[in-house]
């Protein structure tokens, strides 16, 4: 097993080259008189091509990845990334398209983007989408800006607050604050469902938007969602849905039917585009017809059988990033959806829900669920340190790595102590789930009989538990500008 790799710069040999280039017709200094040039080269590694290939291949071997490991990460929807999506999006015709090319020269890309927008509208029941946001949090901010523009257009200057449940993912209040709103947190019931009375009490003429995750971060459907939507609308506010958990609703239910006005989806979650170690993803935002004029531009429109980029719109909020969005990611999501018909979409959600409940039931005697109810696509269980010689969720997570499983999401949602949020997704077999159950049960037993093994895990990985305190107190984020003497 690869135990660790020197840095690329540590393998550098002065004078070593990988790529060489034709000589220019004249030295740069002659084209650039008087321009300040570098007086010293940047400290980058000097390696051969084989050095580079070997280095990054060996680095890759230090990683867990979905191709090799089960990732039951709650709220992340780590489902299989079909390779057909990669092949679809990598084609030279798509990859070589310049964003400033005339519309007539990029009809294929525009058709796919338009197609994706139509399919997302079908899935959600909403009227229109923007594909511009590059991530879920980016989508949230975009949705918040749309809500702000809507209230401004109504000349209602009192809408200064956004309401968020205490179980919300941290991006929700962060995005709200960045959107210029004050954040009001409302309490949820122990099952994570909104306390509707508390919500009503929090609503008022100052409420611009209420942000909910449906299903919620405990994996439960907000059964009173229509009542909630009515209350929100009666207060003159809009209802935003964080679509991180849309895998539970795919082909089963349409958020527009619940009364949702704005939502974002995560293409790198529900729509199987790869995580890439942290990105790129995409967070398209869908809206009702009333809000369509406020969508960011550009958008793809279809006129007389041809596709075009619409760049003008008097009420648009503008743009939230350069160019049209993470187009290659959108192409992959389009390809994913074209592989499914309505029944297949339903099966995605159904099997995701089946798998999550199976794990809940197989583990609940040792890791009590936060809520004693069937869940949808994810379940939240708890470690009980007081029964396990002080072994905590963090320790269980690290020991799971030794068993060859990526750990579930831990310490979220915040209202469940020692939380383990488990989302298996629909692409895992019962055999994989059984192996995961066996591993957790073994760790539970080990916690009772040999807790120190669990508390000091992981043992079988390229590194032992890492010193995060030192990393934060003495940050070292880059190799030095000069080589060590």
């Amino acid at each position: 097993m690869n135990r660790g790799e020197p840095l690329s710069i540590e393998k550098s040999v002065p004078g070593r080259r990988a790529l060489t280039f034709p000589s220019p017709s004249a030295p740069a200094a002659s084209w650039l008189p008087g321009v300040a040039l570098r007086d010293a080269p940047p400290r980058l590694p000097e390696l051969s091509e084989l050095d580079v290939v070997r280095h990054y291949t060996r680095l890759s071997q230090l990683n867990f990845c979905l191709d090799t490991h089960f990732y039951p990460l709650g709220s992340c929807t780590m489902k299989y990334n079909p390779r057909a999506l990669e092949e679809f999006a990598r084609q030279d015709g798509f990859a070589a398209a310049h964003p400033a090319a005339p519309d007539t020269a990029v009809q294929g890309t525009l058709a796919a983007l338009h197609g994706l927008e139509q399919l997302l509208c079908q899935l959600t029941g909403l009227a229109a989408f923007t594909l511009q946001p590059a991530a879920g949090a980016h989508g949230e901010l975009t949705g918040i800006l749309i809500a702000a523009a809507y209230h401004r257009a109504r000349k209602d200057r009192r809408r200064t607050e956004i309401v968020v449940p205490d179980t919300a993912h941290g991006t929700n209040p962060a995005s709200a604050a960045l959107g210029g709103f004050a954040v009001k947190t409302v309490a949820t019931q122990p099952n994570g469902r909104l306390d509707v009375a508390a919500l009503r009490a929090a609503l008022g003429p100052q409420t611009a938007l209420v942000m909910l995750t449906v299903p919620n971060t405990l994996g439960l459907f907000e059964t009173q969602i229509r009542e909630i939507a009515v209350a929100v609308h009666e207060a003159g506010a809009l209802l935003y849905m964080d679509g991180a958990n849309f895998n539970a609703l795919l082909g089963l239910a349409r958020p527009a039917d619940f009364g949702v006005d704005i939502l974002h989806l995560n293409l790198h979650k529900t729509f199987a585009t790869p995580h890439g170690g942290g990105g790129p993803g995409a967070g398209p935002v869908g809206v009702t017809a009333t809000l369509e004029p406020f969508l960011p531009l550009p958008r793809v429109v279809r006129r007389k059988g041809r596709y075009a980029l619409q760049t003008k719109g008097a009420r648009s909020i503008g743009r939230v990033k350069s160019f049209a969005g993470n187009v290659a990611v959108a192409l992959k999501a389009y390809a994913y959806l074209r592989r499914h018909d309505a029944a297949a979409l339903r099966r995605v959600a159904e099997n995701a829900i089946l798998n999550a409940n199976y794990l809940r039931v197989k583990l609940r005697d040792l890791f009590p669920p936060a809520v004693d109810e069937p869940c949808l696509h994810e379940c939240v269980l708890r470690t009980e340190p007081e029964r396990l010689n002080g072994v905590k969720t963090l320790d269980v997570a690290k020991r799971l790595l030794d068993h060859g499983f990526y750990a579930p999401t831990i310490y979220f949602p915040l209202n469940v102590p020692e939380a383990l949020m488990i989302e298996p997704t629909e692409t895992e077999t019962p055999a994989t789930l059984d192996a995961f159950v066996a591993a957790l049960r073994a760790i539970h037993e080990e916690a009772r009989t040999a807790p120190e093994q669990v508390k000091s895990a992981p043992h079988n990985l390229p590194v032992r538990r890492l010193d995060e305190l030192n990393a934060a107190r003495n940050p070292n984020v880059a190799w030095p500008a000069q080589p060590p003497q």
Binding site: A105, F221, R464
Partner: protein, 443 residues
């Protein structure tokens, strides 16, 4: 079809769960809200999907690319494409469980280090969505650090970046953007000095700017500092293989668009926002940051660090809501830079300068065409054409050439102006073909 369950497996699992059917598990969704999708196209098999993909891609016209404007076509080494398609990188998750993610984390550290080296800075993050986002974050940081409200933004910063900043900042009403006109295509020191007062948090200095022109960064930085303002440099990373880096001429923050390093054009995304700064501003760096540390056995390792700045902890008091980076795009850039090395990067930069300057001279020799704006440039320049630049681009595309970015919709009075880019990927034959086509279209 990616769901593996057989009917028998489903039945067995339902029995174990203790329910009669899948419908029982869906009961918490009110019946009246359960609805299938309406008009949905039939499912495509994999071969049908790929055939459909080929048809669509064929509807894109493959044009010889002379357009830049924040997206440039450079050669992507085959090794880059091969390495980023490895499943261990492609399908890895965000490295929160550091011990299981040392490959991704070490690559992040090498990325951060490479960006620091290029920009002459001590700190860089693991990337942001694109250059526009990086600039917005730098402006936010400068406002927070100085406690001042105004950002001086020359109109030679990419128009789409400026539009993005306007949208993002309109929400909170701050920072306040003051646009600096640049009629000569570059910043005018007297005009800049006139706007500098103690309300200014930062002066943005793009070099090369949107028109490809280079600025005297050191002189502008000195002006800013005299008024207590910070300096945010905007620079193309490949140009920094040759040009003095922002850290050397007095910038506090440096941002850029990293797409040109190992990432295809992809019609605008995913791209790569680069963000770097001086050591003293480390705690103001947004987004993900990888740090080197040791493990329990004293071995070197890497972790995400300074996470208490981030949204999942600070929630509504986070400085930024960004919680992702463009990891795979950053990996492509890191590998590309490792293949280039400092000498190769300089050679590429010199080649870019050479191609662009030769093309500029060839175009200026065609009657009716002249360069607009004087001054040194990197690999892009503005041409004043004897006709509408938009019409010219259409006519050139019929000849299989993307002639450049027409500037009429982006800048007043520039309907006949065309932003032309020639990277190292353009050969001498390509330049000949361009100028021959241009002559034909203009006659």
């Amino acid at each position: 079809m990616y769901s593996p369950h057989t009917a028998a497996e489903q039945q067995a699992m339902l029995r174990d769960i203790g329910v009669g059917s899948l419908a029982d598990l869906l009961a918490q969704i009110p019946a009246e809200l359960q609805a299938s999708v309406a008009a949905w196209p039939p499912a495509l098999t994999e071969p049908e999907l790929l055939a459909h993909g080929r048809e669509l891609a064929a509807q894109n016209q493959r044009l010889l690319c002379f357009a830049g404007g924040g997206a440039q076509e450079h050669h992507i080494p085959a090794a880059v494409s091969a390495l980023i398609q490895r499943g261990e990188f492609l399908t890895a998750y965000t490295p929160y469980q550091a011990e299981a993610s040392q490959g991704t984390l070490q690559a992040m550290y090498e990325f951060q280090s490479s960006i620091c080296a290029l920009y002459g800075m001590a700190a860089a993050n693991a990337s942001l969505y694109d250059g526009a986002t990086a600039l917005a974050e730098a402006a936010n940081a400068a406002a927070r650090i100085t406690g001042r409200r105004v950002i001086l933004l020359p109109e030679t910063v990419h128009p789409e970046w400026r539009a993005t900043l306007r949208t993002l900042f309109a929400a909170r009403g701050e920072p306040q953007l003051v646009t600096l006109p640049c009629l000569t295509g570059r910043m005018e020191p007297e005009a800049v000095a006139a706007q500098l007062d103690d309300s200014v948090a930062a002066l943005v200095v793009p070099s090369p700017n949107y028109f490809g022109l280079l600025e005297d960064g050191a002189a502008l930085a000195a002006l800013a500092k005299a008024h207590g303002a910070l300096v945010i440099a905007v620079a193309d990373p490949i140009s920094l293989g040759l040009l003095a880096p922002p850290g050397a001429w007095g910038a506090d923050f440096a941002v850029g668009e990293g797409q040109g390093l190992g990432n295809p054009l992809n019609y605008g995304g995913p791209y790569l926002g680069l963000f770097a700064c001086r050591q003293e501003y480390l705690r103001h760096v947004p987004g993900r940051l990888c740090g080197m540390t040791t493990d329990a056995a004293g071995r070197r390792g890497f972790v995400l660090t300074l996470q208490a700045r981030e949204q999942h902890i600070r929630r509504e008091r986070a400085a930024s809501n960004i919680c992702s980076n463009q990891a795979l795009c950053a990996l492509a850039a890191t590998i590309h830079l490792a293949l280039l090395g400092p000498v190769g990067l300089r050679e590429v930069a010199e080649l870019n300068v050479d191609r662009a300057h030769r093309l500029a001279a060839m175009i200026a020799a065609i009657p009716g065409f002249r360069r607009r704006f004087d001054g040194a440039f990197f690999n892009e320049f503005v041409v004043e054409c004897p006709m509408s630049a938009t019409r010219l681009v259409k006519a050139m595309s019929k000849k299989g050439i993307l002639a450049g970015v027409p500037l009429g919709k982006l800048y007043r009075g520039m309907d006949n102006s065309l932003l032309v880019c020639a990277t190292g990927k353009r050969t001498a034959d390509d330049l000949e073909r361009y100028t021959a086509a241009l002559r034909a279209v203009a006659s």
